[in-house]
Each structure stands twice: as structure tokens, then as C-alpha cells.
Symmetry: C2
Subunit: 379 residues, 2 copies
């Protein structure tokens, strides 16, 4: 991976760098074959057992364990073939300037291989049976090359929205994110290809809920409070996380996460901050280890007199909260443990919208700015 990009500049490797990395993986195989070595790939292991909590960097990262995937090992040859097939599809897409979705890559590589087996019988094998198999080898290629699939031009259903005092350049267009009217800029799949030309804001406010984003945007919260307003619409996608990370990393902006006061919301904060177990190899690029949880916290229920405006937690909520208490980044935070214990004790969750009890401007005029001013976030 290329070293840290200069502030705000395009953070992605160029198309030719990407192609070179992918091709070099394939070239190794050719060299092995030419020198008579049974072909193999070395792939970092993406299991939970090889996922490490890096306390210093406050990130979930992939451990050092790798596996050799041998072509001549009968148990691995199919996965080997799938990896090489996917590699060829992605290389071809990059050479031809295509931007496939992961679902398209599945269909593009799907076919029946017919062959004669060791007993002379006709047999056939599907390249892959479902998308889980093709997705898994995309991830293998990501970890083997150190490239994200976004660098390889693979698109996804990008959900995020952003608005605020910042100017970016994307595909040659200079876009002023403070001039989006009632709307917002829809964050695309490839955030690393964006040049961030200028940011004039005091902080980034990430709101879980799309409807709350709409309300705050319509109220021009970001203008009145000089912040960048972002939503990932629930569990954020990779590009929303990457955008938030870049604003923190390259511009040093504090990042505040505002979710519902329930296990699901706490987990969304956790993903923004530390990464997810299934994508731990991407945390270094996607996580924002200094993100702060602004609310809604279980202790806010009493502090803001929201009793009677809560929802009974389900068994699933409580189970999830107990799981969170075992995550090191929660476990090592005294404040978080207090909040999670309170959640388990009271068995009540509370939504962002509940502040409407105190008036429709309370959230934007009181709760958010005062919590930030009084440093009442949790980390």
C-alpha cells in the first residue's frame, strides 16, 4: 500500500498501480509453474481467531497468520481455481475500465466446467454455487494484495450522504458540499478517488438515521454549527466509513456519532470507531479510532427526563449488549461499561427522536451543541 497520502489528496493507488499489484499476484503463479513448483497462493487468514484488537492504534486488525492455498491439494484446488478466476475477472475489468458490482462478478464468473474424472467418467463442476463463494475470494484478493475492492473498481450500493462547508474534486468536477440545497451529496463507492480540496468545519457529526439527517439538513444545522453532517443510514457502508475516516485523519476533525440509545446504535458507533470483525483487514482505512459517541446513552434517559418515552428492550437487545461488553474497546472504557450496565439494568432503549418531547428544536439547539460544548461524549 502506498504511504499516507498528503492531506486531502486522492488517497487511492492509481489504476496502473492497482493493475500492477493484481498482475504481480498472477505472475507469481506463472513463475511457480514455469519453475516446476506446484502453484500456490499465500493468503492472510480472515478468521476471528486471526483478528486482533490493536490496543495502541485502537483498531481491529488482521493478525499475522497466513495460509498457503495449493493447487494440487484436492481440498483446496476449487478455492484456488475460484481465486484465480476472480483475479482474472478483476484484472480484465480494470484493463477495460469496467465498474462491476460484486453481484456482477459472481454472474460473470459463473459457469459449468465439464471434465472427465480419474475413472474416465464425464463429470461437471460449477465455478461457484452462490455469491458467498465469489465474495469470499474477492476478500482473499483484497487481503493478499492489500488493495480494497473499491481500488479494484468494484461498486456497491452506496448509502451515505454528506453536506457541509467543504469542497471536493471528483472526476474533474469541483463540488461545493455547502451548495446542495435541501439535498446532499450522495457518497459514491470510490471515496479514495476523491480529492478533498478544502474543509472549513469544527467537527463531523455522523447521524445514524436518514430521517434525522434530513431534518437537521433542512434546519441547516451544519451551517449554524459549522460542522460536516453525514449519515450512513443505519449500519454504514464502506464508503461512508471511509469518508468519515478521511475527514478525521487528513483534517484532524473530531468525529461525533449520534445513534439511537440501543445495542444496535452502540454497535454502529463501534463499527465507525473500531471496525467490524468480518472486515477487520479494512479497519486501517475505514475505522476512526478517535470517534466519540455523542448519544443517545442510557444515562440520558434520566438526565433528559425521557422516562415514559422509552421502548422496552427485547431479549435480543440485551443479548447484544452483553456481547458488546466483551469487546475490548468497550471493556476498557469505564464509562461505556457503566452505560451498558445501566442498559441491562433498566432494560429500556430510547430513540433520537424522543427529544421531541421537549420541542422540535431541542435536539439541534440544545442536546447536540451542549453535549459537545460540555464534552459529555463517551469514548
Amino acid at each position: 500500500m502506498s504511504s499516507q497520502s498528503p492531506k486531502g489528496k486522492v488517497a487511492a493507488p492509481s489504476d496502473s498501480e492497482v493493475l500492477a499489484k493484481l498482475e504481480s499476484l498472477a505472475k507469481k503463479l506463472v513463475e511457480q509453474m514455469e519453475s516446476g513448483v506446484p502453484p500456490y497462493l499465500v493468503i492472510p487468514v480472515r478468521t476471528m481467531a486471526n483478528t486482533i484488537w490493536d490496543r495502541k492504534r485502537k483498531l481491529l486488525v488482521l493478525g499475522p497468520k497466513t495460509a498457503r492455498r495449493e493447487f494440487f491439494d484436492i481440498g483446496e484446488s476449487k478455492r484456488f481455481m475460484q481465486t484465480v478466476l476472480m483475479l482474472s475477472l478483476i484484472v480484465q475489468a480494470r484493463r477495460e475500465g469496467d465498474y462491476p458490482t460484486i453481484r456482477e462478478l459472481y454472474y460473470r464468473g459463473k459457469r459449468t466446467i465439464k471434465y472427465t474424472d480419474e475413472r474416465g467418467n464425464k463429470a461437471s463442476e460449477e465455478t461457484w454455487d452462490d455469491q458467498r463463494e465469489s465474495n469470499a475470494v474477492i476478500q482473499d484478493i483484497e487481503v493478499a494484495t492489500g488493495l480494497l475492492r473499491e481500488h479494484m473498481g468494484v461498486t456497491h450500493d452506496a448509502k451515505g450522504r454528506i453536506v457541509g462547508n467543504m469542497i471536493i474534486r471528483s472526476k474533474g468536477d469541483e463540488i461545493d458540499l455547502s451548495k446542495m440545497g435541501s439535498g446532499a451529496w450522495g457518497i459514491p463507492s470510490f471515496v479514495d478517488k476523491i480529492e478533498i480540496l478544502r474543509v472549513e468545519a469544527d467537527y463531523v457529526l455522523v447521524v445514524e438515521k436518514g430521517a434525522v439527517f434530513e431534518k437537521l439538513n433542512e434546519e441547516e444545522f451544519w451551517k449554524k454549527n459549522n460542522c460536516i453532517l453525514v449519515t450512513g443510514k443505519g449500519q454504514p457502508d464502506r464508503s461512508t466509513r471511509r469518508m468519515v475516516r478521511r475527514l478525521w485523519e487528513e483534517f484532524g476533525l473530531p468525529v461525533y456519532i449520534l445513534t439511537d440509545g440501543d445495542s444496535y446504535g452502540f454497535y454502529i458507533y463501534s463499527v465507525y470507531r473500531s471496525g467490524s470483525i468480518s472486515l477487520s483487514y479494512e479497519s486501517e482505512r475505514l475505522a476512526t479510532p478517535e470517534a466519540r459517541f455523542l448519544g443517545v446513552s442510557p444515562s440520558d434517559i434520566e438526565r433528559y427526563e425521557l422516562q415514559g418515552f422509552t421502548i422496552k428492550a427485547t431479549e435480543r437487545d440485551l443479548k447484544r449488549a452483553k456481547e458488546l461488553m466483551n469487546y475490548p474497546w468497550f471493556k476498557e472504557s469505564k464509562r461505556w461499561m457503566e452505560e451498558l450496565e445501566l442498559f441491562l439494568e433498566k432494560k429500556e432503549k430510547v430513540e433520537i427522536e424522543a427529544f421531541a418531547k421537549h420541542g422540535l428544536k431541542y435536539l439541534s439547539s440544545e442536546y447536540i451543541p451542549k453535549k459537545i460544548k460540555n464534552k459529555q461524549w463517551i469514548i
Copy 2:
């Protein structure tokens, strides 16, 4: 409702018009009380029995049936109270320039009313027990006033994205939707407040899937094919539908809908085109009765040699398809009935991404442009 707005201009009633309409509803109640008449509201009935298929206009619309909601009818007094409560919340929000979500209106109006009952016992009643009750009275106010909740400043989680050769004005910002880089303009809740200044495009292409939108946008499909590209990300929200409708109504652009080839996709087309039963009172503003279904149709499976690239339809898919065959706007279309019968016969669904079988550019270079050129859409 004010008459047809001039081409592209702001299509919404002004804030003062909205306020006047809402207040006049309340004033009627005051006049009734002052003249000694037991207060009542006249509300159009939003049941399926009062939903009519307007064959001429090709729209689902609300029928003529209305109901009197009487304050002194013990069975209706709670709903009467809820309606008046919601009316007061919305009037207050408009007077103070607030943009609540429907969830906030629920919380804003939620409280316990304590009273002494007819036997002298202390009793209490919740204003509403859950959001279904508060949402229902918002809809009542919509049909009673002829205003959409968007006109009343109520926000929702807006999902849609749009990009293409058009310039709009929103909140004073002039926004060029052909200069969004890799991203797109996120369509906000209040589409009627947008001025559409200029549209230079041959048609509107609405794609169901967000990931396919990303791919086509990255490929600059809209630039190469001079169209406006829109996604509602699955089942579209009200504002995406409104935007598509405005482009058709005010600029006369043909609208093509591209979905997966399954009952869910066909229903999405149906909602864009004819409206939904639960929101039939809004069809006149949200539906695009001349929208054309571009694909993927069941007969495309053979035509484009996608056999083996399909997915087995579930019982639910088949049940849904049978239901669609009873909708008049499908029933009255010979082509649609053929396609739905083929779907039920073959029991196979097919995704947009399956065209990747023929190459990653096939969808954008062959399927979409040729289907349009050869007029192979279905209506």
C-alpha cells in the same frame, strides 16, 4: 390544490398557503363549537374499498366516500382528539419553521391525559399508544386538506439519488446535476420546493438497485446516452417518485423502469407507474402513469440466453405474481399478462446483474440502449 404549476417551477404551495389550509380546518371546528354544533371533521375514507382505478388517467385514486368524525361519538372521540392534536403539532411546526420526522411528531404528541370518569373515578388515557395511530391521523390530515405531508414540512428518510444533464435550484443554490463527480445528488424529502431550471435529456432511466446505479454512474451512462439516471434503492420513497413524476409531467420525458425480473421488481414498476393502494390519495402527485417497464422481463431469459443464470422463484414470489395479475393495470395489458403467465410457468426469476454473463458492458452498451431504441418496453 393549486392548479398545475408552470414547467419546472416550484410545485409546492407556499408555507403561508399551507398554514392557511391547516388553520382553516381548525377554524371550522371553532365555528361549529361557537354556533353550538357538536364538532366534527369530514375525512375522505382511506380504505381499499374507497380506492379506485381511474382507467382514463391510469391512476389509483381515492374514491368519493367520506366519513364524519364526531367529537361526541364515544367510538370516535379519541381519534377526533388525535386528529386535532396532530393538527396543532403540525401548525405549530409550520409557524416555527420546524421540520419534524413522523417519528418526532409521535413523540411530540405523546402524553398521558388524566381525567375523572363519569363515575367519579380517576382514569387516564394515552394520546396514542404507538406510531401507527399518529401516522394514521397525519394521513387523515393529508386527505382532508389535500396537502401532502411534505408540504407540511414533515421529513422522511429520503433514499433516492439522481444525476444527469439538469440544473435545479433548491434553497437558493443552483445545482448542476451533471457535475456531481462519482457521486450523485441525494434527493431530499421536499421535492416540490425544488425549481427545475433546465433539463437536457432524452429520457429518464430509473434503476431499482443502488449498486447498479453506482456502476452506471461510474461508467457515465447518463452522459453517453443523454439521460437522467435515478435510483429509488428498491421500493422507492415518496420523494423519488415525486421527482420522476415531475420530470415526466413538466418536461415530457419518457420514463423507463429497470428492475430485477421478479414479482418484487414488477411491483416496484407498478408503484412508480400507478401508485400504491395504501397511498392512493397521493397518486396524482407521485405516480407516472406513462412509465414504461424496460426489463428485466421473464421473456428476456430466453431472448438474452440467461438460462442457468436465473434463481428459482419462491412460493411467495409466485403468490405475489398472481396478485399482480389481478391489478387492473396489469390485467388490461396483454403483454404484461403474457409475461406474468410465463413467470408462473417457468418459476424463474432473473437479476439485472445476470447480463454480466455477456460481459460487464453488456447492460449499458447493449441491453438498455437497444431495448429503448427497438421500443421493447412493456406497458
